[in-house]
């Protein structure tokens, strides 16, 4: 379901403690730990794609990107960028859940109350 939103460009300039800090999203390297070393680079990339949502608790994010199934599209496409620092701008992401949800793709385990957590894989 699509909801009409304001014509605002939204970025977190002064984010609350439970929101994404700034626009630089850095993904932790621990995803490599769940990929065995004997796999080919292609297998590694595919494994990262398939596992991208598993560590996320989607109930913590209030965005239509989840209800519309967009996260399932974003995951594989953004997977190659997960090991890189990126700068992301979203226009119209006026709901507080959107930036953390996307950040979750990179941070793997992002808790809205305390921020990213270390992965125990």
């Amino acid at each position: 379901m699509i909801k009409v939103r304001r014509e605002d460009a939204i970025m977190s300039e002064d984010p609350p403690t439970d929101a994404l800090e700034g626009v630089e999203v850095r993904k932790r390297i621990y995803t490599e730990q769940i990929v065995s070393e004997d796999r080919t680079p292609h297998d590694k990339e595919r494994a990262l794609s398939n596992d991208y949502l598993a560590p996320l608790d989607l109930n913590n994010y209030h965005t239509d990107k989840i209800t519309n199934g967009y996260m399932n599209v974003y995951g594989p496409i953004l997977a190659p960028l997960r090991s890189k620092p990126i700068k992301l701008l979203e226009l119209g992401g006026s709901w507080w859940g959107v930036p953390p949800a996307l950040a979750g793709l990179f941070l793997e385990r992002y808790d809205r109350r305390s921020g990213p957590k270390a992965c125990n894989h």
């Binding site: 939103r5 304001r6 014509e7 460009a9 599209v73 979203e90 996307l102």
Partner: protein
């Protein structure tokens, strides 16, 4: 959070200057879903504030198929009068170059404009024997239901706005 300013492009430039002076890696437009506004945002941000190889995402382009959306319209597969006129033209052999019917309302029309830019190599060539004047600014365009992903070329061409009208 940046709030509405009268000049959208000026706002975008200010955001970029403050947050990403070297450009953004990813830009996602989930704002108005109005073609005119989306077009302005897209070309300004894509040309000026997206890194080479960067990704620009436009969400919810299917609004162009909705008649209750501000610039959308319900899809009609074969407009009656158009089909009758084209049939007549074919019958009397008045024209051999009849365009395919394509829904182009709202965001759907904007997304289809992106195909023109993707085809800049042939578009600027004009003729089979012509020479391309430039390559596309896009490396690829991926269209999926409700979303389109545009990857910027690694070596953007200059002079685009003078040679191809894209809104």
């Amino acid at each position: 959070m940046y709030t509405k300013e009268h000049n959208r492009t000026r706002l975008f430039s200010r955001i970029a200057q403050e947050r990403a002076s070297d450009g953004f890696d990813i830009i996602i437009d989930d704002a108005s879903h109005i073609a005119d506004l989306t077009r302005i945002s897209f070309w300004h941000l894509f040309d000026n504030h997206l890194k080479p190889g960067g990704l620009y995402v436009v969400e919810d382009w299917g609004t162009g198929y909705w008649s209750d959306w501000p610039d959308g319209m319900t899809y009609r597969q074969h407009p009656f009068f158009r089909e009758r006129i084209l049939s007549l033209l074919k019958f009397i052999r008045a024209s051999r170059r009849i365009p395919s019917y394509s829904h182009s309302f709202g965001m759907v029309g904007f997304i289809k404009e992106l195909v023109d830019e993707m085809g800049a190599h042939d578009l600027t060539r004009g003729l089979l024997t012509g020479k391309p004047k430039r390559q596309s600014k896009f490396r690829q365009v991926l269209v999926v239901p409700s979303m389109v992903f545009i990857t910027k070329s690694d070596s953007p061409q200059s002079g685009f706005r003078d040679s191809v009208a894209c809104g």
